[in-house]
C-alpha cells in the first residue's frame, strides 16, 4: 500500500526506454511516479533497507538494482553491512 508509487516506478524499469529516461533525469522520473519524500530520499541514497522501509517490495526493487548495475549479492552485502566477499563466503559456509 504505502509502497505503491515506488513499486510502480520500479516495475516500469522492465522497459529499457524507461531505464534510460530515469538515468537522464532522475528527479523528473521520480516526480512523474509521485514518490513521497522518504521514497525519493531512499532512491537517491541507493539504500535497500531504506527502500524496503519506504514500502518497496524486493521483487520490484530488483529492477531498480538492475538500473544501478547491482546484483543480489551486492544487495545482500549492503543490507547486512558486509563486504561482498564476506557475504559470498557466508553463503558458501551455509552449504557446509
Amino acid at each position: 500500500m504505502k509502497g505503491y508509487a515506488l513499486n510502480k516506478m520500479c516495475y516500469s524499469f522492465n522497459s529499457a526506454a524507461n531505464r534510460e529516461d530515469f538515468k537522464r533525469d532522475e528527479d523528473a522520473y521520480c516526480m512523474r511516479y509521485g514518490l513521497n519524500a522518504e521514497q525519493r530520499e531512499a532512491i537517491r541514497r541507493r539504500n535497500v533497507l531504506a527502500l524496503i522501509a519506504a514500502g518497496g517490495n524486493v521483487y520490484y526493487l530488483a529492477k531498480f538494482a538492475g538500473v544501478m548495475g547491482l546484483d543480489v549479492q551486492d544487495l545482500g552485502a549492503q543490507q547486512t553491512g558486509m563486504s561482498k566477499d564476506a557475504f559470498k563466503s557466508r553463503l558458501v559456509a551455509a552449504g557446509r
Binding site: N7, S15, Y59, A62, K63, G76, Q79, T80, A94
Partner: protein
C-alpha cells in the same frame, strides 16, 4: 486419456540464465548445479512428454500490484518472455496448448478453484530457466506448455495446503483430459533463500534436506506450517517451495524420488532439483 508421466521440481535462480548464456556449465562454481540435470534430461527423452504444466511465480514481469491474482493460468497459443529489467537474456516464445488450458480451467472452477484466466501472458525467468535447464538448445521447445502462476509477491499468499490442493485438482483435471497426451508437471523456485532485509543471505540446509526427503512420501509435512512460519524456516523467497508442493500435488498418489540434486550456493540460493514418479506398487 492424458497421463502424468512425472513431476520435476527445480530452482529458477536468475543467475542460471546468465550462466547458460555464457556457457559456464563446466565452471567450478556452476558445475555442481548443471551436473544435476543430465539424468533428468535422459529421463525426459524416455518419458517423451507432449506437454509441460509449469507451476511458477511471476516476479513482476506479467503481473504488477494493480492486479495480482493468487492463482493464474495461461490459456494462450504462445507465451513470450521479455525484458525483466536487470539484464537476463530473453529466450524464444513457448508454444501453448489452449485446449488443455481450457479443460484445466473448466475443471478447476468446477472444483471451486476460481483461477484467473490469461489469454496473453508473459513468462519470466521462473518459467524460462527451468525450461532451458530441462530442454537445452536455446528455444526449440519440444513440448507445449501451460503456465500456472502462484502469487508470492503480495501477501497474503496462499497457504501450503491450498497450493498442494490446487496441484491435486490440476492433476485430476489432467487425468480427465480425453486426449492421449503425456504430461510432465514442473514446480519451480526455492529452495531456502532470502534476498531482502537484515536477514539477506539466509539459507537453511537442514530444512531443505528434510523437505526434499519428505516431499515424495509425506508431502503434507510442509503444510503443517503457516506461510509466516515457512518464511522463517526457508526465507522470504524460500516460500517458493509452494510451487514444489503444487507440482507434488499434481503428481498425486504415492510417489518416489528418481533423481535429486542439492547445492549451496547458487547466487544467494540453495539450489534444489527433484524428479519424482508415481509409485505404482
Amino acid at each position: 486419456m492424458a497421463r502424468i508421466v512425472g513431476a520435476i521440481t527445480t530452482s529458477h535462480v536468475p543467475a542460471i540464465g546468465k550462466a547458460i548464456a555464457r556457457n559456464l556449465h563446466d565452471d567450478p562454481y556452476w558445475k555442481p548445479l548443471f551436473d544435476g540435470y543430465p539424468p533428468v534430461r535422459r529421463w525426459l527423452a524416455q518419458a517423451r512428454p507432449d506437454v509441460a504444466v509449469v507451476f511458477y511465480n511471476d516476479h513482476g514481469l506479467n503481473f504488477f500490484l494493480d492486479k495480482m491474482p493468487t492463482f493464474a493460468i495461461g490459456a494462450a497459443a504462445q507465451y513470450r518472455n521479455d525484458d525483466e529489467g536487470w539484464g537476463i537474456p530473453t529466450v524464444p516464445p513457448f508454444p501453448g496448448d489452449q485446449r488443455l488450458s481450457w479443460h484445466l480451467i473448466e475443471r478447476l472452477v468446477a472444483e471451486e478453484f476460481d483461477v484467473t484466466t490469461c489469454q496473453e501472458m508473459l513468462v519470466d525467468h521462473a518459467f524460462t530457466i527451468p525450461m532451458a535447464l530441462l530442454w537445452p538448445g536455446r528455444g526449440a521447445w519440444p513440448v507445449r506448455t501451460v503456465p500456472v502462476c502462484i502469487n508470492t509477491v503480495q501477501h497474503p499468499l496462499p497457504s501450503a495446503v491450498r497450493c498442494y490442493k490446487l496441484g491435486q485438482a490440476i492433476g485430476r483435471a489432467i487425468e480427465s483430459y480425453p486426449e492421449d497426451v503425456r504430461v510432465v508437471v514442473i514446480g519451480t523456485g526455492g529452495l531456502s533463500h532470502q534476498l531482502d532485509g537484515e536477514r539477506a543471505g539466509f539459507i537453511n540446509k537442514a530444512f531443505d534436506i528434510e523437505f526434499m526427503e519428505r516431499l515424495p512420501g509425506d508431502p503434507l509435512w510442509a503444510a503443517r506450517w503457516s506461510v509466516p512460519d515457512l518464511v522463517k524456516l526457508a526465507g522470504t523467497q524460500g516460500i517458493e517451495l509452494l510451487m514444489w508442493l503444487a507440482a507434488r500435488g499434481a503428481l498425486g498418489g504415492e510417489a518416489a524420488t528418481v533423481h535429486s540434486n542439492y547445492h549451496i550456493p547458487i547466487s544467494n540460493t540453495a539450489a534444489g532439483l527433484m524428479l519424482m514418479e508415481r509409485r505404482t506398487a
